[in-house]
């Protein structure tokens, strides 16, 4: 592991406090991302200062709404519009809200559906030839050849 990464679990209510803290400490917003989990959406807010990495994480219900952080970190508007367009995360008060128009994708909120983890693909095994069957076949071939010769 070449970089120490600090993970902070938070809640929608406590998020803004943490974001203000990052702003006050002069951190840079690195990215916001979403992962669809069983409980809803897992949001990751990543920050950096002099290569020190901090990530705030929270779980949000599918129908829950969260307040935008774009008034604190202005570039957040782009990430939040991405979350709205691709995942259908409900975010209010975005400074520049495209309202679903940032990504011109054919299917609305294509990443919204929860896909349960798939089981591993079973590795195909080579067909097993039973020894008894093989001998029977061989014996039949030998017998038929012997009959022909007779």
């Amino acid at each position: 592991m070449y970089e120490n990464q600090k993970m902070v679990d938070t809640t929608p209510e406590e998020l803004i406090h943490g974001i203000y803290l990052m702003k006050r400490e002069d951190y840079r917003l690195v990215q916001i991302s979403c992962t669809r989990v069983l409980e809803g959406f897992e949001l990751n807010y990543t920050f950096d200062k002099d290569l020190a990495f901090i990530n705030y994480r929270l779980i949000l219900g599918v129908e829950e709404e969260i307040v935008s952080i774009s008034r604190i970190f202005s570039p957040a508007f782009l990430y939040e519009n991405e979350l709205k367009d691709l995942f259908g995360v409900k975010i209010s008060d975005i400074t520049i809200d495209y309202d679903g128009g940032l990504y011109r994708v054919a299917k609305k909120t294509p990443f919204k559906d929860f896909v349960p983890p798939q089981p591993a693909i079973p590795v195909p095994k080579p067909p097993v030839v039973k020894v008894a069957e093989a001998t029977t076949v061989d014996r039949k071939v030998v017998e038929s050849k012997a009959n022909e010769e007779v």
Partner: protein, 359 residues
């Protein structure tokens, strides 16, 4: 206040090899505001992870972009290696560094040619792209591919470069370095280039930090930050310091990239000298169970690979935050107040890669 009107810029435009659309709100000849829209070629490659085995996904990651394809594959592999605690052999780390720096030279030369072309500086465009061909030839000789290499794999690399080939590459790069220096001198000193770029599209230090700029865009505004400072691959042993300019204008962004080409030549030569012997890959068993954010420096800046596995062959999530996506807010900022005629050059000075953005 003059009459306001909206001029659509893109998705098809001579300076845009890939589609992005900007609604330019104009007041006479000045841009008041720029409103972007993307998604014309969104491919949903992140979603594909649900259907591809994690070892196969390396090939998908490499296809996110045709310019920095090697670094996409490498970023993804590094994320898996960190989750599975795979120790990559030193020789493989050096080989990855060499291919990554060759990719940077290739990308910056491509950018320099496109910028020269946008000025109408055709001869410089042809010369830089001719040099770029030599880099592609090195890729072909060492990997078998010119665009997609498929040499990076989880645990190391697929192909080695022998000592004779490394020596040839070093000689070739030295010759190229002299030639490139002559062209870049023309570009840097040319009066028309300076006229179009100096004090145009200034991004201040405060704005660069506030808007989350990355890569040459950030370093041209005086911030000494480059993900290679994280000492991944062989950078720690090669002695790396970021290239920084302070003016924050289009000219400074160009200078950073031109000086980074020089730096990459030196890094490759040092890597070729110091490369240790030994294995080029580490065998592993099992599937990734955990998560990791990998940050590496692509030609356009910091790229993030977030990978999360559940112990099965299929990952829960791969998220890629590309440098061009991070630089869009800065682009919108520098477009504010510029002349309409400067818009194409300003877009080119962020070196946009829409293919990456539309992963």
């Amino acid at each position: 206040m003059g009459k306001r009107q909206i001029i659509p810029f893109g998705p098809q435009h001579p300076v845009l090899p890939e589609p992005i659309h900007l609604d330019l709100v104009m007041e006479d000849e000045k841009v008041v505001e720029a409103i972007p829209s993307i998604g014309f070629i969104h491919r949903g490659l992140e979603k594909l992870v649900e259907k591809k085995d994690f070892t196969e996904y390396v090939y998908v990651a490499e296809r996110i972009c045709g310019i920095c394809s090697f670094m996409h594959g490498m970023g993804y592999c590094m994320a898996i290696e960190n989750i599975m605690d795979i120790s990559v052999p030193r020789r493989a780390e050096y080989l990855r560094t060499i291919w990554a720096e060759l990719s940077r030279i290739h990308s910056h030369l491509l950018w320099l040619g496109l910028t020269a072309d946008a000025f109408g500086f055709e001869s410089l465009f042809m010369h830089t792209w001719r040099l770029r061909e030599k880099i592609l030839d090195i890729f072909e000789r060492t990997t078998g591919g010119r665009v997609i290499f498929s040499v990076c794999k989880i645990g190391g690399v697929r192909k080695d470069i022998d000592d004779d080939t490394l020596a040839d590459i070093t000689d070739l790069l030295s010759a190229m370095q002299d030639e490139l220096r002559r062209f870049c001198e023309v570009f840097i000193e040319d009066q028309s280039v300076r006229h179009r770029m100096v004090k145009v599209g200034i991004l201040t230090l405060a704005d660069a930090k506030e808007l989350g700029a990355v890569g040459p865009m950030l370093r041209a505004s005086g911030v000494s930050q480059d993900m290679r400072q994280l000492d991944y691959c062989a950078y720690k042993e090669l002695g790396f310091t970021p290239i920084v300019e302070t003016a924050g204008d289009s000219y400074a962004r160009s200078l950073v990239r031109i000086r980074e080409i020089e730096q990459s030549f030196d890094l490759i030569k040092r890597a070729a000298e110091k490369i240790p012997g030994g294995a080029i890959e580490e065998k592993y068993k099992g599937a990734p169970n955990g998560e990791y954010f990998v940050r590496i420096e692509q030609p356009r800046g910091e790229v993030i690979y977030y990978v999360r596995g559940n112990g099965s062959k299929f990952l829960d999530r791969v998220r890629v935050r590309t440098p061009t996506f991070a630089n869009i807010p800065s682009l919108l900022k520098i477009l504010q107040g510029c002349e309409l005629a400067d818009v194409p050059i300003l877009i080119l000075t962020i070196d946009p890669c829409i293919s990456c953005t539309e992963r």
